[in-house]
């Protein structure tokens, strides 16, 4: 198991390198440099600017320079936010996004698994139907619809919670709920379907026939197998939170990574785009690693790294 984990950690490093290289190449080959908008720049000033931001020299030299600084944790100066380093900007914005994302993740996982278990354990009951309808409505409502409704209803009409900004725990309530709604609904559906499927399995019938208590059957057989499905869903879940955070950070005016990323792309602020991408990629690599390890732990049949049985 330790060898398996170590191998997967090592496998994550090339992934990060490939991501860094791909984004570097794609962004450099896109038309238009970062200083195209100032059309009147004299050539010598343009040259100075390019030297200042390490845009001179061959592409290979730029790439080597970029990787070299990357290893030292230096993501270079931002093109757009003059005088600020990308690492600085990320240091400010990343904790905000992570905080928001984690709160939403916990809400989505806890709520989704609980609702799914409650619904699946008593198939076709009133609870099951209610959860079914609620989760159906949940997956059909994009985050901006839920966010707009919450802002209109809870913030503006009832005046219970702030409609935006990021100045304390109370400010996280509406954005986190908005961000969590969609994944919560998906997880509830997934867990419910999985519980229902597992309850029909022979090994559950066998366990019951052996006289294993219902609580133990639920914990050891049903929950464990149902969680496997939730685990495979972790990648899309993370992507959903990430894309959702772009929307949520916009409509609640939260100074997180999502807002910087969107403007960075349209400004062709290469270092900032690369920085944000790398951080996201690192998060996803770590999350996938955790999922793989948990997966192997939960289902000994699938030890991916070992290949043939």
């Amino acid at each position: 198991m330790i060898r398996y984990v170590a191998l997967r950690v090592l496998a994550g490093l090339p992934v990060l390198w490939v991501v860094a290289t791909l984004t570097f190449a794609l962004l450099r080959f896109l038309p238009g440099g970062p200083f195209d908008k100032e059309k009147t720049l004299p050539p010598e000033i343009l040259r100075n600017l390019e030297r200042r931001y390490a845009l001179d020299g061959s592409l290979g030299a730029q790439y080597a320079d970029y990787l070299g600084r990357l290893i030292r944790g230096d993501l270079g100066p931002s093109y757009k936010y003059v005088g600020r380093d990308v690492t600085d900007i990320l240091a400010d914005a990343l904790p905000v996004s992570i905080e928001l994302g984690l709160v939403a993740l916990v809400i989505a996982l806890a709520g989704g698994v609980a609702l799914g278990l409650a619904a699946g354990a008593r198939r076709d009951s009133l609870v099951d139907r209610a959860v079914g309808i609620a989760s159906l409505l949940g997956v059909s409502a994009p985050s901006f619809v839920i966010g707009a409704a919450l802002i209109l209803g809870v913030a503006l009409h009832l005046d219970w919670l702030p409609a935006g900004l990021w100045e304390g725990p109370i400010y996280a309530v509406l954005p986190a709920l908005t961000l969590a709604a969609l994944p919560l609904a998906y997880i509830a559906q997934l867990t419910r379907a999985q519980v229902v499927a597992v309850m029909d399995q022979d090994y559950v019938r066998t366990a019951r026939a052996k006289g294993v208590s219902e609580g133990r059957v639920r914990r050891h057989h049903v929950l464990r197998n149902a969680l496997l499905a939730v685990l495979t869903y972790f990648g899309p879940l993370l992507a959903m939170l990430l894309t959702g955070s772009f929307v949520v950070e916009r409509i609640f005016a939260i100074p997180g990574m999502g807002r910087f990323f969107v403007t960075a792309v349209t400004n062709r602020d290469y270092p900032l785009v690369l920085g944000v991408t790398l951080v996201y990629a690192a998060l996803v690599v770590v999350a996938n690693l955790v999922v793989d390890v948990l997966y192997a732990w939960l289902d000994p049949r699938i030890r991916v790294g070992r290949g043939e049985r």
């Binding site: 496998a11 994550g12 090339p14 992934v15 990060l16 490939v18 991501v19 791909l22 984004t23 794609l26 962004l27 080959f29 896109l30 038309p31 159906l136 409505l137 997956v139 059909s140 409502a141 994009p142 985050s143 901006f144 619809v145 707009a148 802002i151 209109l152 503006l156 379907a193 229902v196 499927a197 029909d200 495979t232 990648g235 899309p236 992507a239 990430l242 894309t243 959702g244 772009f246 929307v247 916009r250 409509i251 990323f261 969107v262 792309v265 349209t266 785009v273 944000v276 991408t277 996201y280 990629a281 996803v284 690599v285 996938n288 049949r301 699938i302 991916v304 790294g305 290949g307 043939e308």
Partner: protein, 280 residues
């Protein structure tokens, strides 16, 4: 069972309404989606403009119809693409197994590790250049299809691979092997039919996912751009003026909600019909 069939019928009805809106919405409205009329800007719903007009006096129903066309096109294209790539890839990885599988899954990890929003934005920018002669909205739709398909195939591939991995441990595969059947035959005639239910269901759910992604990207300004119309851009415009002109955000949100609901209901009907575990 009759309850789920009624819900399935509701889903089919909603999708039919969506297709009708896409095909005939602007004819019913009587305006072009980009026809501006500053004398009648920001009007609430009326006899002349059933769903009112936006800040430039454009008819909201006609714009919803254009948004429906965009959504359906993007969803169909992206789903087809994701299914095509993901199926082939997942079957190969799961069946071959071993080192090849490990390598193929590392590739999937890389694609997974690319934040989809970035992939989508980059592809849109790249296609802007390569499709220089094509009208802007077609370029953006093509880019959205390519990007969402590219993001979606990984999920399909992982699902297919996991299903194949599970299936090859089953006794009936062992039995087929014992009978001396060739690999290809076992894979295509035995494994694939056995796992096709969940794959079709997953494909069906890719459609609302693509619609959601398109409207979300357009909402944050990275998808379809003005003057072209998408439900996401309409909702984004409406969000800015939410307090004074609630009808601007209401209608696109309702349209997205009903479209997603319709496709989810249809997907659930399909799942109930196709997934062997859920047969009563």
């Amino acid at each position: 069972m009759s309850g789920s069939r009624a819900l399935g019928a509701l889903g089919a009805f909603l999708i039919a309404a969506l297709v009708l809106l896409a095909l005939a919405g602007d004819r019913v409205a009587g305006y072009r989606f980009d026809a501006q009329d500053s004398a009648h800007a920001l009007e609430p719903p009326s006899h002349a403009h059933w769903l009112g007009t936006d800040a430039l006096g454009r008819d909201q129903l006609a714009r919803l119809a254009e948004g429906a066309r965009v959504s359906l096109l993007v969803a169909a294209g992206a789903t087809g693409l994701a299914l095509l790539i993901g199926l082939g890839y997942g079957l190969a990885a799961g069946w071959i197994g071993g080192r090849v599988d490990g390598l193929m899954m590392r590739v999937v990890d890389v694609v997974y590790a690319l934040p989809d929003v970035l992939v989508i934005v980059l592809l849109i920018e790249v296609l802007q250049v390569t499709l220089a002669g094509v009208p802007d909205v077609a370029r953006r739709v093509a880019a959205l299809v390519a990007a969402l398909g590219f993001v979606g195939w990984v999920g399909v591939a992982r699902l297919v691979r996991a299903l194949v991995l599970q299936a090859r441990e089953e006794t009936w595969v062992e039995a087929a092997r014992a009978l001396g059947l060739r690999n290809r035959r076992i894979l295509l005639r035995h494994v694939l039919p056995n796992i096709s239910g969940p794959i079709l269901v997953a494909a069906a759910f890719q459609i609302p996912a693509a619609i959601l992604a398109e409207s979300t990207l357009s909402f944050i300004g990275l998808g379809i751009q003005p003057p072209f119309s998408s439900w996401g851009t309409m909702a984004s415009d409406g969000f800015e003026a939410m307090r004074s002109y609630p009808h601007l955000i209401l209608f696109p949100c309702v349209a997205i909600f009903l479209a997603l609901l319709g496709f989810h209901l249809l997907g659930e009907l399909l799942r109930d019909a196709l997934d062997p575990h859920r047969r009563p």
